[in-house]
Symmetry: C2
Subunit: 362 residues, 2 copies
DNA sequence: CTGAAAGCGCTTACAG
DNA sequence: CTGAAAGCGCTTACAG
């Protein structure tokens, strides 16, 4: 949790400006000059300084130039934190996601940032590391800072903790995964549909034994993609051997073990559907090193997927579009849109590149 | 610039809590309860509420439970913005970099975030898009919010605008590229050394005509890598034909044009040194599609570089380590370290994978 | 153990 | 056109 208690390194500096009480002001914000200091130096009232700083009308050219000179001489910069306290709007939003470094989430972050910028807001960003307690801690810390809104890729499965915040006016949009146990705006990809199409594509290329390596089942997107996998198999009248399904963490060792399992045994799969970008990368490492060709379709696109041999066929989400859509919805709420919570589902695109068109071995 | 002037969607809500003047409080922060409301409800003084909220000693169990009940009933959450105004430390830092979505910068962001978190700080993140005016606007907006510190990957070439902020106590660490026209802590990779080793590696493999495709010369890292390239060539007694050097924006078309130029003409290069991750990716697309093999070493590692055929030999920086180092230095400053500005240079690693060991054609 | 007063640096509402 | 007073929601310094 944020802890503003530690002393500032600038605490030793002496206060600057005229008419200040050093005992109270010394070191605070590095002893920065305030509007009061500017007013004293320019020989005007506080409100006049405020008018000049904020470009409000009703100040004579002469007065204004005296104030500007004082601002310049003192190196004054308005303290927006104080301004915010009085105005009630912080002009900042928070973004909580799984991992800022993940190639799926980083374009999404950038998109949210761009929309925030276009709307005059600053962005707090933080990673939950897929730990529900961390998501909650971050989201609530952001609310305590009174962000105007929150874009959140949930890690947890119960978001009732946000209800008081939302009721108090914090605009909240859930992204990539839906809110749970709370009504809220949600923007996500149609994961089940994407998965169905991925698996149907493999079936169309002759596969009957298809494996699925997904993220932990508790993660909504993982569950949805698993559902899509099962539905596509069922629609084609194909049975699913549970040895072909490997849900769990996306670290390479776990993924590798899951693949080994479904590729050995009496009924090895001839094709693999990889449930997200992390899984696909490991699957490429495993499958491309094997003698017998195994077909592969991945969920999520990734850089250079087209340059591998064969190129990797994927169901591509558009992370930037997801981020943009969520942030735009957020600012529409901040602009007064109080219609019922919306759920926006974006379609994913099948990108055919080679790995998904490999025919079954034998 | 942030604009907190727009009305809040919650502005229509009526104020809650007892003893508040609706005309002033209605809608502010969504009409959230304040310590004053909690105090009134619990029948205690403001300071007692503050003590309970902050876990300060000297409150009887009975008083405390009355206060806690009021907090619970009202859904009170301390307004950290107000707290910060009084305490002088915001427990937030700012990160300004080129592009949050860039695979080089996103692990760096995550690393800065982790260190901030470990030090109880929240992180503001923003992209300069390599536009100096935007870097300055962002950095100053962050200073106006009174962030405790700033980690900045500069886009501009003159950082004197930050001098008053630094003097006022904003701890500032420049990352990836040095500060210009101002003394400040800097953490970066030894770019010239990395470039020298990349080019020496190609020379050791028999190349004499080596091209360099770099970012815009105005960017410090690009200039340093160009210098390393020239030094390695000079040390080996090799001439540099200026047609082999292509500096400029890293969009694919420009990179492609630069490559075409150095690969055609009377003295085509037999090897290419790509100046950063964006350039390398395009270089791979161009070179791997050509009939005659051309050797390639890239600056910056990237995912799946080892899975391409041949694998891409690179000079790998460690973006997470860069970010961590910078953020740790920042917090050391905030903890009172006032030694002279430091310059930390991290070495880059040569990762041999195949593309850099292709012998010269012919 | 408890609380009233003053203040953080601004803006608001109002009066001249 | 200009400014003194009050207040945003907290914490500090001090007094009981």
């Amino acid at each position: 949790m944020p802890d503003p208690d530690r002393p500032s390194p600038a605490a030793a500096r002496t206060g600057s400006g005229s008419g200040r009480r050093p005992s109270a002001a010394a070191g605070r914000y590095g002893g920065r000059p305030t509007m009061k200091d500017v007013a004293a130096r320019a020989g005007v009232g506080l409100k006049t300084v405020s008018r000049v700083v904020n470009g409000e009308p009703g100040v004579t050219a002469d007065t204004e130039s005296r104030v500007r000179a004082a601002i310049e001489a003192l190196g004054f910069r308005r303290n927006d934190s104080a301004r915010i306290l009085r105005k009630g709007r912080t002009a900042s939003i928070g973004l909580v996601l799984e991992d800022l470094a993940d190639p799926f989430y980083s374009p999404l972050s950038r998109a949210v940032e761009e929309v925030a910028r276009a709307n005059g807001s600053l962005l707090f960003a933080g990673s939950s590391a897929e730990v529900p307690a961390r998501e909650q801690e971050l989201a609530l810390a952001l609310c305590a800072r009174r962000v105007d809104g929150l874009v959140i890729v949930p890690a947890g499965e119960d978001h009732r903790y946000l209800e008081p915040e939302m009721a108090a006016g914090v605009a909240t949009v859930f992204l990539d995964r839906p809110a749970q146990r709370v009504e809220a705006d949600t923007v996500l990809t149609d994961n089940a549909d994407g998965a169905r199409r991925a698996v149907a594509h493999l079936i169309a290329h002759g596969h009957r034994r298809i494996g699925f390596v997904g993220d932990r089942s508790a993660i909504h997107t993982a569950g949805e993609r698993l559902r899509g996998y099962r539905e596509a198999m069922a629609r084609a009248g194909l049975p699913v051997d549970e040895a072909w399904v490997a849900m769990g963490p996306t670290d390479p060792d776990r993924v590798r073990a899951g693949l080994d399992r479904m590729l050995s045994g009496p009924h090895p799969v001839t094709a693999v559907f990889a449930g997200n970008n992390r899984v696909t990368v490991t699957a490429v490492r495993v499958l491309y090193g094997r003698p017998g060709p195994v077909a592969l379709v991945g969920f999520d696109d990734f850089e250079l997927a087209d340059l591998l041999r064969p190129g990797v066929t994927v169901i591509a989400q558009d992370p930037a579009r997801l981020g943009r859509t969520a942030a735009e919805l957020l600012f529409r709420r901040l602009d007064g849109d109080d219609s019922p919570p919306r759920r926006v589902e974006l379609a994913a695109d099948l990108l055919v590149r080679g790995s998904g068109e490999i025919p079954p071995a034998g």
